[in-house]
Symmetry: C2
Subunit: 249 residues, 2 copies
């Protein structure tokens, strides 16, 4: 197994960083790494906003559900789906591409582009000994986040990515059984297999929490996730995204 795969398999989200900031050189290398990811038909439909302003970081930490590591880290990146530049350059050529920009297909492309870039940055950071954590919490209130970051139409902040020097290593969290995620030639929806995978995984997760909390927690994955999806998360999202000009048709 090579070093890169070791880095990938060794991933855990880091939620506690030292005060050491990333250097300008590190930041540029991380952005360059992000940019090297594949992009759908060369569209490059994303942008990255680095946030260093302490007031903005504090505010974003609050908005993301009072997560202190959104404020205290080596650097905070916000990844955005971005079709603003495409609109602008088409307009300058006198071409109207609104119908494309508003389509769900193009929206998906921009979300995928941003995510591929972010994961490249994550692996690059981890290969440098840095820790990372994705911050989906910025989607709690995208109206305020967009205002804070001054994003124009056709730009949608998707998630933050905090990067920094780890103060505490967390444990690696076990994933679903490989044979549950990975199917061959056709989607396997066999009832008995499904139950077998789920109960095996629930046991794995339950053991993981018991060990990590000295027996205080023993959550099962299926209970955790069912609980978190009982109430629709961020139910404003559909309208908000459409308000940005995206995913409308």
């Amino acid at each position: 197994m090579n070093k890169t795969i070791e880095t990938i398999l060794n991933h855990r989200s880091i939620r506690s960083f030292t005060d050491q900031l990333l250097t300008e050189e590190e930041i540029r290398l991380l952005v360059e790494s992000a940019q090297s990811a594949s992009t759908s038909s060369y569209i490059q439909a994303y942008s990255i906003i680095g946030v260093t302003d302490p007031d903005k970081k504090r505010k974003l930490a609050e908005l993301a559900g009072n997560q202190p590591y959104v404020e205290k880290n080596g650097h905070l990146f916000v990844f955005c789906a971005d079709l603003y530049r495409h609109d602008k350059m088409a307009r300058e050529k006198g071409v109207d591409i609104t119908a494309s920009l508003e389509g769900t297909e193009t929206f998906m492309v921009s979300v995928i582009d941003a995510a591929l870039a972010a994961q490249n940055m994550s692996i690059a950071a981890e290969s440098m000994g840095l820790g990372i954590c994705y911050i989906g919490g910025i989607r709690n209130n995208l109206n305020e986040v967009s205002g804070l970051l001054e994003t124009p139409e056709y730009v949608l902040p998707l998630f933050g990515l905090v990067v920094g020097h780890p103060a505490n290593l967390s444990d690696k969290k076990p994933r679903l059984p490989l044979d549950h995620i990975y199917h061959e030639n056709a989607y396997q929806a066999d009832e008995a297999e499904f139950k077998k995978h789920m109960s095996a995984y629930d046991e794995t997760i339950s053991n993981y929490y018991q060990k990590r909390t000295d027996g205080k927690r023993s959550d099962k994955w299926t209970d955790q996730i069912t609980g978190s999806l009982k109430k629709p998360p961020r139910a404003y999202m559909n309208e908000f995204v459409k308000g940005k000009g995206l995913n409308k048709r």
Copy 2:
């Protein structure tokens, strides 16, 4: 610069592979690498379908716009947004999570989850000396693709990823200027800067094509992209995704 970052920066899509198939061990290591990516609130909302059946591969290659490398490669993976398992396990607990599953927020989460996993797999593959290419072309006709792969409700095939031993190395394609993708503290929509970036990049791309084609092509990026967005790509997508139970509200 470490090996991992070298691998990341050295990325180019490979569209020509030798006949050598990936081994079972390589496939499992790649899937494990994919699974190690971050996942939003531990939701793990994606699946991967490995396609080895020659008829299915041929058919997928056709559907993806007659791309021969979709048929001839070391292995073909199809990444899907997947909330089927979440629905199923909630039902078994007597909990109705339909409103969550149908939300644009949860749809975005599943697309992001799948993309992060895919990019992990890509980097892992490239670190092993393999080449990769994303196949967005499967979205040309998701109805047929879904039928072929037998995906149930709440599962949406997003893209293929072909992996294999490169037969031909392609060139690395230059990305947008770093300062255009990367903003500090707020989105920079300055008119003059925008124009400067675009014309510098158009020149870079034009030179790139000239060199690559002995002067036969000299496309500019802004023309390419404007051209490709003149007509809405895959305009059926909005309805199709909703038909799968996703992105409805």
